[in-house]
Every structure is written in structure tokens, then in C-alpha cells.
């Protein structure tokens, strides 16, 4: 008789161990003021976020923020944790990825007036609601090799007014010289999506329901990039394969480096020769990424209260915003007026880090689309495979509209 009970007991044990529930137990304990906080980033970026968490604990005695630094495959790991019900209470999220996660994030109250410009808060809105509190922006600027300009007898571009795309093209041609592996390029490799924004085009329409890079501006911009590569004013993707363009700049092989984000400051801080400075990206500038802090929908009670306090603290308090700059590295540009100048002081004034402040104030953001990774990944792979934006040879005027249509179909699927 006893033996007959054994399988039942075993089944009970296994059932207790394997049964699932819709109510996760860990990380969402509503009675505790302790929260968990997931984020991505490099060593210095993680140091910034850990410092913000430490400042919050100091300012709010009795609270505890356990940090969870995810060093690779951030979105996959966050998604897996959400599926397993073990997500952190607070999660860092980029405006580009927000749409895909909104079903797991709690709605937040964001006051747009607290930020230096309205695009910063609107970047973290989806269908009219806020799902993350902005805390860092990543506008782009352009580094120029001052010595190369002087050697070519060309006056330096304005520190505050962007060049037009035609002026940039002419300058890049004038600054290029030499042959083979020793060629000096007027410009670094041109990232099509960035230059599309600079030219006034968009990748998606305003509400993120269609892809628009195949329109007239998109094709003209692609041709602009290809022309610069063909006239050898900018290296192709094959030229830079396995190469570090910051090192090329340091070695004097690039006169203008157009993809300069806040995280690039640390690398360039080491470069004393050639002399360099920052200017705005030509045209309307590149699209700006805005990072925010989202709260898990599962958080309740005291934990939800602490999480709300934490995201508010990180996004709107100067003591937290100043932590975005650690030494000469920057996770991003602070988004509140009181801290926005912190980055400018990292290097001497002649490096013109103030260009970041200008870019922040004028930076544009695109709509967040739910399947961004998939649709833009497929489109960019197509561009790189078939056209000279990558390693192909086909005409951009033929390929881009086709890819744009496919991209729109994927968005609507």
C-alpha cells in the first residue's frame, strides 16, 4: 500500500517544483522598499548607473537598489526575464526599443517641462502614454581634424552652425588625398541612417506605421553617400572592416569623424595630436537616442513607490544627472537644464564639448516601432548586400524603394 503512494508523492514533489504561476514571487515583493535595477553598458556606463543608485539610497534612507548590469544581449535577457517572471523592478530602455516592451511596463507620469527640450520626453511616449522616465540623451556631433584643415588651407567650420550637406561634400573632397592603405579620407564612413536624418528624411513615418527611407529624400541621401565613397572622400564598409575609425582619426587618416556620441569622448580625450575639436553634424543632424527608466508592470505596493521615486530621482535630480559623467567618460548628456553643462567641463573649452549641448537642444527623435530590430535589421541587411551602401553594386534608386515596401509590409504584418 505504502509503495503505491510513492509515485503520488513523487508527482506532488515535481508538481510543487514545476508548476507555473502568473504571479512571480521574486523581485516584485510589494512589502519591501528594496528594488532591482537592470541596465546595459560599458564599465564606465555601469559605474554611472551604480553611482546614481548609490546616491538614491543615500537620499532615501531605508531603500535598497540592487543593480543588475547586463553586459551583452540586453534586450534578449530582459525579455527572457519577463517571460520567466523574474524581471527587475526598474529597467533601462532606449526610445528605439520602447514600443516592443510597453505591454510589460507600467505607465508613468512624466512632466515634459523638466527637460531641456520636448523631444526628450516625447521620445518615451507610445500611443500618447509615457512608459519610461527620460534620464540620458545621446546626441551626435562631428569631430574635425584641425591640423588637416590648416594644412589644406581651409577655414574651420562653425562651432555652432551646421554645414550644409553640399558644403560637407566639397570639404570632404578637398581634404582627401593619397592612395592605397595610406589614403587620407575627408570623412569617416557614412552611416546611411544618420545621414538620412541630416538630409531631412526619415526612416519611418511619424506614427511608425510605414517605412519611408525609399522616398525621394531617402534615395537622394543614399546616392550622396555612394558618391562620397566613389570619389574616395569617405571609406567604404569594406575599407573599414576590422578597423577602428577613431584610431584612423588619431593617425591622421580622417579629417572629419561624423559619428561622435557622448561615449566617444573618452577615446578622443587621449588624442592630443592631431589637434581636434567638435562641430555640429551637417544638415539637420543625426537622430538622437533617448534612454529612459521603465518600471515593471508587476511592481506593486512599497516596491512600486520606491521604483517611482527612483526613476524620478535619476531623471530629474541634479545630484543623479551629474553622475552620468564619470571622469572623462559619459553615458550620455544630462537631460535637465541644471546638469546639461556638466559634460562641457570634461575637456578644455577648445574641444568644444558644448556642441553636445547644442545638439541636445535641437536633436530629433524618431518614432518607436514594435519590431524595430527585425524590420530595420532586414532593411539594412538588404541595403548592405545589394547596394554600394555596403558591399553590393545595385542601383540605390531601384533597391531602396523595394526594401522600403518590404519594411512597411513587415510593420503591418
Amino acid at each position: 500500500m505504502k509503495l503505491r503512494l510513492i509515485p503520488a508523492a513523487a508527482a506532488l514533489v515535481l508538481a510543487a517544483g514545476c508548476a507555473t504561476t502568473s504571479q512571480p514571487a521574486s523581485n516584485t515583493n510589494s512589502d519591501s522598499a528594496a528594488i532591482t535595477f537592470s541596465f546595459w553598458g560599458t564599465n564606465s556606463e555601469a559605474a554611472s548607473l551604480k553611482a546614481i543608485a548609490a546616491e538614491f539610497e543615500k537620499a532615501n534612507p531605508g531603500t535598497k537598489v540592487t543593480t543588475n548590469w547586463i553586459q551583452a544581449d540586453y534586450e534578449q535577457k530582459v525579455l527572457t526575464s519577463i517571460a520567466g517572471g523574474t524581471q527587475s523592478t526598474v529597467m533601462e530602455i532606449s526610445n528605439n526599443s520602447l514600443a516592443g516592451f510597453v505591454s510589460s511596463f507600467a505607465e508613468q507620469q512624466v512632466d515634459p517641462g523638466k527637460y531641456v527640450q520636448p523631444n526628450i520626453s516625447s521620445a518615451l511616449q507610445f500611443e500618447g502614454k509615457y512608459y519610461a522616465m527620460p534620464f540620458a540623451a545621446k546626441p551626435k556631433v562631428m569631430a574635425i581634424n584641425v591640423d588637416a584643415f590648416k594644412a589644406a588651407g581651409i577655414p574651420l567650420p562653425s562651432a555652432t552652425t551646421p554645414l550644409t550637406l553640399d558644403e560637407f561634400k566639397t570639404l570632404a573632397a578637398k581634404l582627401s588625398h593619397g592612395d592605397g592603405k595610406a589614403r587620407v579620407f575627408g570623412s569617416s564612413n557614412l552611416y546611411y541612417r544618420g545621414w538620412l536624418t541630416a538630409a531631412g528624411g526619415t526612416y519611418y513615418n511619424a506614427d511608425g506605421t510605414a517605412c519611408t527611407f525609399g522616398d525621394e529624400t531617402g534615395v537622394k541621401t543614399a546616392q550622396y553617400v555612394v558618391d562620397l565613397q566613389n570619389q574616395k572622400s569617405a571609406p567604404t564598409s569594406t575599407d573599414i572592416q576590422g578597423q577602428d575609425q577613431a584610431q584612423w582619426f588619431a593617425a591622421g587618416r580622417l579629417a572629419m569623424f561624423s559619428d561622435f556620441g557622448p561615449w566617444t569622448v573618452a577615446d578622443f580625450a587621449k588624442i592630443s595630436k592631431p589637434n581636434w575639436t567638435l562641430v555640429p553634424v551637417p544638415g539637420k543632424g543625426f537622430q538622437m537616442e533617448v534612454d529612459g527608466l521603465a518600471i515593471s508592470k508587476k511592481a506593486t505596493g512599497k516596491q512600486l513607490e520606491t521604483a517611482k521615486k527612483f526613476v524620478e530621482f535619476a531623471g530629474t535630480q541634479q545630484v543623479a544627472q551629474d553622475q552620468l559623467i564619470q571622469g572623462n567618460t559619459a553615458l550620455g548628456v544630462p537631460v535637465i537644464a541644471a546638469s546639461v553643462g556638466t559634460l562641457e567641463k570634461v575637456l578644455p573649452a577648445d574641444r568644444n564639448l558644448a556642441a553636445f549641448t547644442t545638439a541636445l537642444k535641437t536633436g530629433v527623435v524618431g518614432p518607436s516601432v514594435a519590431k524595430e530590430n527585425q524590420v530595420s535589421g532586414d532593411a539594412e541587411k538588404g541595403m548592405n548586400s545589394y547596394t554600394a551602401l555596403g558591399t553590393g553594386k545595385d542601383d540605390v534608386a531601384k533597391i531602396l524603394p523595394e526594401l522600403s515596401d518590404k519594411c512597411t509590409a513587415a510593420l503591418k504584418k
Binding site: 514571487a25 516592443g100 510589460s104 575599407d239 576590422g242 527585425q374 548586400s385
Partner: protein
């Protein structure tokens, strides 16, 4: 997370168990209870069937593996069958869609491309690797001074992991700064763009795969050492030359080992992933290997249901190819034990 497990974890934490060890507590507890149940079952079985000591001991000793296999292999496999019948993005609960994922896969041109690339890789690389590994093993089977050093040198590349190997070869085949094109340029040949050229990407990966034949070579070498010398002596007495000895003695004796290496090679080639992943599928999907496409759907597009369906399609393809190879090999592989059986039947 299960509330019982959450409760056990909270209890362990309140008892002062170090935080890092807390997740282990419920696992160990379940294991202890499970083994108590298994122990009881074994005790009961022993009382009922006193002569079955060895059988009970066998099942007891094998139980750790059986439990691990059931939880970590069979469990996920069964679960993936169910997932393949759903639409699941990880964020929202899975929706049952029946065979829709399978039907979509059969109409997806990328699945066809992935199968084409993967099978082409297998069809070309497996025979090439087999021949090269066997020839190298034959050469290294001779007893010459320094032979052990050569064997080590040939085997060493097999120790390099897939990602490191791919990164290394991205440099070797870099169109501008790579070793391959530098060497070709010295003899007046303008090298291709290798991984950057849709026509060259797959041949480049095949070429790369030959770098790691050391693993198969070691198995062939062990097989060659195992061929009885008296067979060669008998063949020599019968007047056989080196070629005849190779064809009539070495090849039949080695055929089961060749089959083993070919089978594992086929299965491995169909599961190729790293090269496609690092090269992002290659230009024009020229390196869109099946497992990479599966991964892309699961972890880039978050289509877990579709990815699971692709996994089962791959399983079916591997099973079919293995069966065909095994069936086809019946005419070409020589087993000494088989001969003995046949003899007994006569």
C-alpha cells in the same frame, strides 16, 4: 516563479543562508525529497524482488543522469513541440495556432535559402574534411622522427573555439588588410572580397572548416593503429603492393570509422551557426545557415513559436539524412562482428 519555491527562498534567506546560495536551497530540497522517494521505492522493490539487487543498483546509480536528462533534455524537447504550435513573443502568453508555423516555414523563401546554404555547406565540406583528415592520418601514421610533434601541430587548431576561429579568419580573409590577399598579391593575383562577396562567402567558410580537421584526424589515426599488422603481412605474402593493401586491407578496416566521422560531420555541418552569426548571415544571405535563421527568429524577432517549428524541421532533416547515410553505408562498411554472425548462421 513558483510561489512554493519563492516561499522556500524567502525562508532560507530569513534563516541567514548567504544570498548567493539561496537559489540553490529549493533545488537541493527538491532533490533530497526526490531521492527520499526513490530510496523508498528501491527499498520496497528490493523487499518484493530480493534477487533483483543488481537491477535496482543499476537504476539507482543511473538515476542522476536520468533525472538530468528528463529535466534538461526531454522536458525542453516536449515543451518545444508545444511552443512550435503557438505564436509566442515572450511578453504576452502563447497563443495556440496549430500547424500555422510549419505551414509558414514551408512557404518562407528564407527557409529555402537557409536549407540550400546549409546543405551545400554539408555536401561540400564533409567529403573534403573526411578526405583531408584521412590523408593526413595516413601520413602521420608513419613512424618517423618528430612525428608526435606533427600530430600535435595538426591537432592544435581543433582546440580553438568557433567564435575565436571566425574572428581570426575574418582577419585572414580581410579584403584590404588580410593575410590571404597579401599573399595572393605577391604572386600577382588580386584576391576576392571573401566574406564580403556573396559568391565567395560560402567557399570561404568551407575553406575555413578544413583548418580544424585535427579532431577527425586523431580518430582516423587511432583506427589505423588498430588495423591488425598480420593482415598486411598476409597481403604482402600474397604479393599485394601498397595500393592493393590500402584498398583491400586499410579501407575495409577503416570503413566503420569513416562512417562514424562522416555521420558526426553531417550532423555537425547541419548545425553550423557561429560562422553565420559572426558574419550576420553574409551578403545576400549567402551565409544564412539554418540554425542561424532559427536563432534570428527566436532572439532577434522574438518569434519563439516559429523558431521552435524550425528546430523540429531541422531535427527531421538531420534524422532523414542520418538514416539515408546509415542505410547507404550498409553496402560499403565492413564490420568484423557482422561477418562472424553470418558465419555462425551458415
Amino acid at each position: 516563479m513558483n510561489p512554493t519555491i519563492g516561499w522556500i527562498r524567502d525562508l532560507a534567506a530569513s534563516w541567514g543562508v548567504p544570498t548567493a546560495l539561496v537559489p540553490l536551497v529549493p533545488f537541493l530540497l527538491v532533490l533530497i525529497v526526490l531521492y527520499a522517494v526513490i530510496g523508498l521505492a528501491a527499498y520496497g522493490a528490493r523487499k518484493r524482488w530480493p534477487r533483483a539487487d543488481k537491477t535496482i543498483a543499476f537504476w539507482l546509480f543511473i538515476s542522476p543522469w536520468l533525472i538530468g536528462f528528463a529535466i534538461f533534455t526531454v522536458g525542453p524537447m516536449i515543451s518545444s513541440i508545444y511552443v512550435s504550435l503557438t505564436s509566442w513573443d515572450l511578453l504576452t502568453p502563447p497563443q495556440f495556432v496549430g500547424l500555422a508555423n510549419y505551414s509558414e516555414a514551408f512557404q518562407d523563401p528564407k527557409v529555402l535559402q537557409a536549407l540550400k546554404v546549409t546543405l551545400l555547406y554539408g555536401v561540400i565540406s564533409v567529403p573534403l574534411q573526411t578526405v583531408l583528415a584521412f590523408v593526413v592520418a595516413l601520413l602521420l601514421n608513419s613512424e618517423l622522427p618528430g612525428m608526435r610533434l606533427f600530430r600535435t601541430i595538426w591537432y592544435l587548431p581543433s582546440l580553438v573555439s568557433g567564435v575565436a576561429q571566425m574572428v581570426l579568419f575574418l582577419w585572414v580573409f580581410n579584403p584590404q588588410y588580410g593575410l590571404a590577399n597579401d599573399v595572393l598579391a605577391k604572386i600577382g593575383i588580386a584576391g576576392p572580397a571573401w566574406f564580403n562577396d556573396a559568391a565567395w562567402a560560402l567557399p570561404t567558410v568551407i575553406l575555413m572548416s578544413l583548418w580544424t580537421v585535427g579532431g577527425a584526424m586523431v580518430i582516423y589515426l587511432a583506427g589505423l593503429k588498430d588495423v591488425p599488422p598480420n593482415l598486411y603481412e598476409a597481403a604482402a605474402i600474397d604479393g599485394a603492393g601498397p595500393l592493393r593493401m590500402f584498398w583491400h586491407v586499410t579501407m575495409p578496416q577503416m570503413s566503420p570509422i569513416i562512417l562514424f566521422n562522416a555521420l558526426t560531420g553531417i550532423i555537425g555541418s547541419l548545425q553550423i551557426f557561429t560562422q553565420g552569426f559572426i558574419a550576420n548571415g553574409g551578403p545576400k544571405d549567402s551565409l544564412l545557415f539554418f540554425v542561424y535563421y532559427l536563432y534570428d527568429n527566436a532572439f532577434k524577432n522574438f518569434r519563439m513559436g516559429y523558431a521552435s517549428a524550425l528546430a523540429w524541421i531541422l531535427f527531421a532533416v538531420i534524422l532523414a539524412l542520418t538514416a539515408v547515410t546509415l542505410r547507404g553505408s550498409a553496402f560499403a562498411v565492413y564490420y568484423e562482428t557482422e561477418l562472424a554472425t553470418k558465419r555462425r548462421k551458415k
